[in-house]
Symmetry: C2
Subunit: 112 residues, 2 copies
Amino acid sequence: MGDAELVPLGVLEEQVLVAVLRTRGEAYGMEVRREIERVTGRDLAIGAVYSTLDRLEAKRLLRSKRTFGDGPSRRLFELSSAGARALTETRAMRDRLWRGVDVGGLVAMAKG
Amino acid sequence: MGDAELVPLGVLEEQVLVAVLRTRGEAYGMEVRREIERVTGRDLAIGAVYSTLDRLEAKRLLRSKRTFGDGPSRRLFELSSAGARALTETRAMRDRLWRGVDVGGLVAMAKG
DNA sequence: CCGGTATTTCTACATTGTAGAATCGACCGC
DNA sequence: GCGGTCGATTCTACAATGTAGAAATACCGG
């Protein structure tokens, strides 16, 4: 073990992973997209979400299974433990980056 | 003037911008790189840093000026107010994303 | 069956990130 | 003043990530 590669997740990768957590049990493509839009305020092409979900699953940070029965079949996602680790490492790295940096006065401070 | 485009900075863009803040007055390429490596623990090709600095300057989130005099000439960067805004918006967006999500139990929780 | 709706898949492309070699100029020892 | 080293920047080529929207699929109500 050890020697994690220490490369942070991409911005959308992180958003998708967190949205999967936030919508636990209902985490399929369209819903993940709605959740990201709702919570971040940006609006997002659906293709962006799916290609990211696919990539994340290929990297084994997510797993998916099909639902059948009522309504259209969905691909439901959940975090793997590797996914959870990637997320906490990304966060920890960013916390170190920002530690001690003042955000409040930032805009006021910068001239031009 | 409303209607900011609400697209978050890329991961390295954010790291570079924060590193410029952290090394205020000494923010030139090599030093920015050292600061990112020091604080995040990842190790980073120098080209990655310069191409990001260039891009950020093209977008007017940074300004640079040359230093002369003692030692090799450097390109010193500082945040513009647009840069400060981009940074705080990126942060705010992410805070909304994570609000209410439990990080602590995450790794423990995820099965597989 | 048909049109509408929700979902996923596909394809093409743009932006961002990575890697390392080439270049540049100041300084140093000789 | 010349070659060599050092700190710094520039350049070039490429890989990964992100974006956009149209096509396909399947269910549903009528």
